[in-house]
């Protein structure tokens, strides 16, 4: 079978395989009544202040579920045999308003059953999803191990990464699971202060008399009767033994219950502050404590919290009432926020995630790849050319979606396209696709389309995996030194264009080496095509040098403005320098006569190794001013990609040896008695 034909079949075989879904895990729920779309839409518009910015609850829901489950949808099967698939916004609505259901949804992914075994829970399969209630029997053990491993991790950081304190894989997973469970409990407990229905998360830590009391006491009404006290005074009071009278016991119980509700309601900051100069929004817990501390604060705090009380009450009345209450609350919250100049881009942010621009872009590149693979079945034919054109158009659509998504992100945060590592993935992918399409426009050899499709496919897949792996909001607030749109728009953008060009050079080299290696077996060398590839690669390397060099020097000038030195031999600076140096090695080596066509391509693969090291590797060294934090699994992925590139280099070495041998044979005088061949 011809190699292109084999690749085409492989590509088409892989696509459906990737779409096969796993069986949904079973839930203890008898049945599940989904929320109406209108209700979910009204809910997702609510505003929350988190990580230093005001954002829609839609974003919080997305990254919370990614953090717990690694996915943005929850799939499960209820006892009545029905399969369900919940969007993250609907799931978050359950968490906040139907906690008793949320506790039975399998949203905690456990990658190794050893984790649940260690906390005393019966494991399902090796890697599986568990609900909160399924993990509840191991809650105490999980808290104990979590505290232990948290301390170990702290010692690891303090000891400048002494290996004796490094967490192993299972310990790391236990720590993560413990934190996820704790986050879930805070979310479910957010509106516990507004409930008297007996449902409380962590109710097991309350004594029976307090549980009973919680059904009778209305927290907001309690506020009117309580004396002013600070949090410290509250804690001291509830630690004291209550007096003997019924009234004293009741009072003590009420305080303990109040503390329980205030503590459970931390984390989600729904409430813009009263003071226009104050930028910090509060959670229900913050408002309860502020009202306890000062009677002056109570009317305002009660008014704010009554809004949540209305929502909780309306939800019990039925979905139409709940929808109306949500809409009213959302409208009021938006008016307050907008008067403060906040939250005005929340709808755009919802559009960013709902539009799925990046995953749709990935779909385009997958389709383009399949179409392109089919074009290889009929190389050179009219059909083949048309299929290639379709692949190019699909790649262009993928690029347009990528650019649109990046533009939305830039508008939302009012910043240039790149402010963090995730942005670099999107931007470098877009740039590489654009370069590929430009090369195709200039050369019409099909290689540019291949570059565009391959880099788009790989890049958007990487973006998707990175977002799921990190599971934190990717629209981040900047530290003070990065608070400059000028340098972000110049140095950061330009250096990333250089990275993209370095990777494009490597893809062209892969095409060249594959083609030359294949020719070793079928013997049909297409010299003109190979020369064209070398010219193409040489041009891309020059392009890479220009942007890497200018970007690096611009970075130095920025460093000189920020830190007082042009060059500090920081790992990220060194990475950029190595890219410049290696492109110069290729250009000068070629002029020295040491590097010929095949050398240009093999060195392009070395360039790709340097680019990936500079882009991802140096961040994980844990040193330097540009260290963006450790990303688990990066070294494994880097080593794998370098091994693949090494394989291609070995192929190139085989071609080079053959080429050398052939050249030597041509130069050698004809053997005696045999005529010389032309």
């Amino acid at each position: 079978m011809k190699i292109p034909a084999f690749l085409a079949l492989l590509a088409t075989a892989l696509l459906p395989a990737s779409l096969v879904a796993r069986d949904a895990p079973k839930s203890a729920l008898q049945n599940y009544v989904p929320w109406q779309d209108d209700t979910v839409h009204a809910f997702e518009n609510l505003l929350v202040q988190q990580d230093g910015r005001v954002k829609p609850v839609y974003t919080v829901a997305r990254f919370t579920l990614l953090q717990f489950l690694g996915k943005s949808n929850v799939s499960f099967q209820t006892q009545d045999g029905e399969n369900h698939r919940l969007h993250y916004a609907a799931w978050f609505l359950d968490v906040l308003f139907r906690g008793e259901i949320a506790k039975d949804l399998p949203v905690f992914v456990v990658d190794d059953s050893e984790v649940v075994v260690q906390i005393g829970v019966s494991p399902k399969s090796k890697r599986d999803r568990y609900s909160y209630n399924e993990l509840l029997p191991g809650r105490a053990k999980l808290a104990e191990l979590g505290a232990q491993y948290g301390e170990k991790q702290r010692q690891y950081e303090q000891s400048e990464k002494d290996p004796q304190y490094e967490l192993d894989r299972v310990e790391g997973m236990i720590l993560t699971l413990g934190r996820n469970i704790s986050s879930f409990e805070y979310l479910v407990g957010q509106f516990g202060f507004a409930r008297q229905d007996g449902f409380l998360v962590n109710a097991n830590i309350l004594p029976p008399e307090l549980l009973e009391l919680s059904k009778r006491l209305v927290t907001l009404e309690m506020l009117d009767k309580m004396p002013e006290m600070t949090l410290d005074q509250l804690v001291q009071t509830i630690r004291q033994q209550p007096g003997g009278t019924e009234e004293e016991r009741m009072f003590s119980g009420a305080l303990r219950l109040f503390f329980f509700h205030a503590n459970s309601a931390r984390g989600l900051n729904f409430f813009p502050p009263q003071d226009a100069d104050n930028e910090v929004w509060g959670s229900a817990g913050d408002l309860l404590l502020a009202a306890l501390e000062s009677k002056e604060q109570r009317p305002w705090a009660k008014e704010q919290l009554a809004g949540i009380q209305d929502l909780v009450d309306a939800q019990k009345e039925g979905e139409p009432a709940f929808l109306a209450a949500l809409q009213a609350y959302s409208q009021k919250q938006h008016e307050t926020a907008e008067a403060r100049g906040e939250g005005h881009r929340s709808k755009l942010e919802i559009q960013l995630y709902r539009g799925k621009w990046f995953s749709n872009s990935l779909v385009c590149f997958v389709l383009a790849f399949v179409v392109m693979a089919f074009s290889w079945l009929t190389p050179g034919s009219r059909t083949g050319r048309r299929l290639l054109l379709v692949a190019g158009i699909l790649a262009f659509v993928g690029l347009a979606l990528n650019v649109y998504g990046i533009t939305l992100r830039s508008i939302i945060r009012e910043r240039p396209p790149i402010t963090n590592l995730y942005d670099t993935v999107l931007f470098i992918t877009g740039t590489a696709v654009l370069l590929g399409l430009f090369i195709e426009y200039c050369t019409r050899l099909g290689v540019g389309t291949l570059v565009a499709v391959f880099s788009g496919l790989l890049g958007m897949f990487l973006a998707m995996k990175y977002e799921a792996k990190e599971a934190t909001d990717t629209i981040t607030q900047l530290v003070a030194v990065l608070d400059t749109n000028f340098w972000l728009a110049t140095h950061v953008t330009i250096i990333n264009i250089g990275y993209a060009a370095g990777l494009v050079a490597a893809i062209i080299a892969l095409v060249y080496l594959t083609s030359r290696f294949a020719a070793l077996f079928h013997g049909r060398e297409n010299a003109e095509f190979h020369r064209a590839l070398t010219r193409m690669n040489y041009g891309v390397i020059c392009f890479c040098l220009f942007f890497s060099l200018v970007g690096t020097v611009l970075g130095g000038i920025w460093a000189n403005y920020s830190w007082g030195r042009f060059w500090g031999w920081d790992p990220k600076e060194n990475g950029a320098l190595m890219i410049c140096l290696w492109t110069l090695v290729i250009l000068h080596g070629r002029m020295a006569g040491w590097i010929r066509d095949i050398g240009v391509h093999m060195n392009s693969l070395v360039l790709a190794i340097i680019v990936t090291f500079s882009w991802w590797g140096v961040n994980n060294l844990g040193v330097g001013l540009h260290s963006y934090g450790f990303t688990e699994g990066v070294w494994g992925a880097l080593y794998s990609s370098w091994a693949v590139l090494g394989l291609f280099m070995a192929m190139g070495a085989a071609v080079w040896r053959r080429e050398r041998k052939t050249r030597a044979e041509r130069k050698a005088p004809p053997a005696a008695g045999r005529p010389a061949t032309a």
Binding site: A532, G564, V585
Partner: protein, 418 residues
């Protein structure tokens, strides 16, 4: 056809200058140097994980050669300084002097000239720049800049009120060359005693002899303390050196011993250093390990320090200092120094570097720390960027146009596909 006689190579000493010229102008030398620079840069980057930035910089980049042991095999490799020197010579001779001056190569000529400027700027910075810091609380005025890493020994006669007068200094350049097992006897003419330093450690901590950890510490015990050498921190700024000090009065009085430790120095602008005090004759003296410092020709007063966090989180959004520059012959000048907006004056540049004390909460009084640099080549990178950028831009534009035109002309037939 007659075979051409084989040319023999001329190895006579007369040919050496020409050979050297050919070598230093060659692309081959450029390629070798660039490959080695890449290798050294990689080693220097990875070396930072183990040694920290400062030590790695000194070993790999600020050196003419270094020895790297890979899998037990020692390798002698050229250091960054030697490689950059070679590159400078190669570029000057090969890309500026030897190269044919044609319009077609104008872009490359310009860009190489720009890179030479950059390398020259790097050398001037390495050889002549100084850097340190100045930390001030609002209301404080100073013209003194302190080094980040260099420590020196100061001994000063003290007045009855404990105020130091003109100090005798054993400089950091000499202190840094001391080994931990070395003893140095210093005969200071201006002092009525000799100074003996031994057991100098770049990072140390004193431990009370009563502490269990002291059992494992060798060395002298003085006043119930021993000096415990510590592994050097990767962050060289974190190291706190220590040593044993012996004062040997020249009048034959008994010697005085002490442990000096850098932890006695001030780390908050408001703290006062705590020197070891002793009396020789009737004069009180103070001895202290303190950071090397120097003055700038003007004073800076911090009027206000503004610090903002992103709402609800600990990440700093902005910090800036409102200062007044005070100079005898000039009117006072009010200025703002903030991230990415330094103050440049009289050859010195003040950058908003950091703040403290660590762990400060909103509402706490905080000090502002400025990085103070004096670099004669401060702006050279900017100029070289402009020159190099223009050069490369011209060159690659010409190449791109040629490539595009040729590619369109040579658009391959369908059979040329992979």
């Amino acid at each position: 056809m007659a075979k051409a006689p084989k040319q023999t190579k001329d190895w006579s000493p007369k040919s050496w200058p020409l050979r050297a010229y050919r070598l230093f102008t060659s692309f081959k030398l450029a390629t070798v140097v660039l490959v080695l620079m890449t290798v050294v840069t990689l080693l220097g980057t990875l070396g930072q994980v183990e040694h920290g930035l400062h030590a790695a910089k000194e070993k790999y980049f600020h050196s003419f050669y270094f020895v790297e042991t890979i899998k037990g095999i020692p390798l002698l490799l050229p250091g960054g300084l030697l490689l950059m020197l070679l590159l400078f010579v190669n570029m000057t001779l090969g890309a500026i002097v030897k190269v044919k001056k044609r319009w077609k190569g104008a872009g490359l000529l310009i860009s190489h000239f720009g890179m030479l400027m950059l390398l020259a700027g790097g050398f001037v910075t390495w050889a002549f720049s100084t850097d340190g810091y100045m930390a001030l609380y609002p209301g404080m005025t100073s013209n003194r800049v302190e080094s980040y890493r260099e420590w020196q020994l100061e001994i000063a006669p003290l007045s009855k009120e404990g105020v130091g007068e003109k100090a005798w200094i054993y400089p950091s350049e000499r202190l840094d060359t001391m080994r931990s097992d070395e003893q140095r006897v210093i005969h200071a003419e201006s002092l009525p005693f000799d100074v003996v330093i031994n057991g100098y450690s770049r990072n140390a901590t004193p431990v009370p002899t009563s502490a269990p950890i002291a059992a494992g510490v060798t060395g002298k015990e003085i006043d119930g303390f021993k000096l415990s050498p510590q592994k050097a921190s990767k962050e060289a700024e974190q190291n706190l050196p220590g040593c044993f000090l012996e004062i040997r009065p020249k009048d034959g009085s008994p010697p005085i011993e002490a442990i000096l430790w850098a932890g006695s120095y001030k780390f908050d602008p408001r703290e006062k250093p705590m020197p070891f005090t002793f009396t020789v004759g009737d004069q009180l003296y103070g001895a202290l390990l303190m950071k090397k410092s120097w003055t700038v020709p003007f004073e800076v007063r911090l009027d206000e320090f503004l610090f903002e966090r992103h709402p609800g989180v600990s990440t700093a959004r902005n910090y800036e200092s409102r200062v007044t520059r005070l100079e005898a012959s000039q009117p006072d000048k009010a200025l703002e120094i903030k991230m990415n907006e330094p103050m440049r004056y009289a050859g010195y540049t003040f950058f908003q570097e950091s703040f403290g004390p660590s762990g400060s909460q909103p509402g706490d009084e905080m000090f502002s720390q400025f990085a103070v640099a004096n670099n004669p080549a401060d702006q050279w990178p900017l100029w070289s960027l402009v020159v190099t950028g223009v050069g490369l831009g011209v060159h690659f534009l010409v190449m791109l146009v040629n490539f595009t035109v040729r590619s369109r002309q040579r658009t391959a037939p369908p059979s040329a596909k992979p």
